[in-house]
Amino acid sequence: SQLAEENLWALSVHEGESVTVNCSYKTSITALQWYRQKSGEGPAQLILIRSNEREKRNGRLRATLDTSSQSSSLSITATRCEDTAVYFCATDWASGGNYKPTFGKGTSLVVHP
């Protein structure tokens, strides 16, 4: 099973609404990342939150991390149509000098006008 996975396969909201994507993971981590992947493009990292951080913001994005429940959330406020994308969480796994993120399957977010 995935070491990191998002809790919902798909979400749909209207522009201007807020939305939250949740993620759970199964190992102890040093950091968790949130990525966004638009159709036909490579993923783009949105927020990296380290295990000693509880919250991190990037513009309209806010990520939280709860290491006790091994979960994270990504909230987007004032959504726009261009926020339509698949959102992944990824946890770190460093081995032999390589950083190997383990990605969840993603939550597909559709923002309707």
Binding site: T30, G42, P43, F88, N98, Y99, F103
Partner: protein
């Protein structure tokens, strides 16, 4: 500013034919380089990583090979394609050995028939 370029954008190939995908990073010396594969609707899976020229480590065995002939170039190839090789191939780079911030290229979409 750093840029990452992948070629070709898309390929349709026959089972058993050879494949070569390329990735170039400009504006960053000695980056860590990565190849990822994403099945349609699936999650990202790291295939190879390279810390320096001429050195490539395999993460997942998928009957593919990778090489780093130059500091800014990463090549993914195989002598014989399988149907299961279809998917989206992404190159990524990281500015440091920690690797927890990765920047992805636009990807190459491969369909094997």
């Amino acid at each position: 500013a750093q840029t990452i370029h992948q070629w070709p954008v898309a390929e349709i190939k026959a089972v058993g034919s050879p494949l070569s995908l390329g990735c170039t990073i400009k504006g960053k010396s000695s980056p860590n380089l990565y190849w990822y594969w994403q099945a349609t609707g699936g999650t990202l899976q790291q295939l190879f990583y390279s810390i320096t020229v001429g050195q490539v480590e395999s993460v997942v065995q998928l009957n593919l090979s990778a090489s780093r002939p130059k500091d800014d170039q990463f090549i993914l190839s195989t002598e014989k394609l399988l149907l299961s090789h279809s998917g989206f191939y992404l190159c990524a780079w990281s500015p440091d050995r920690g690797g927890d911030t990765q920047y992805f290229g636009p990807g190459t979409r491969l369909l094997v028939l």
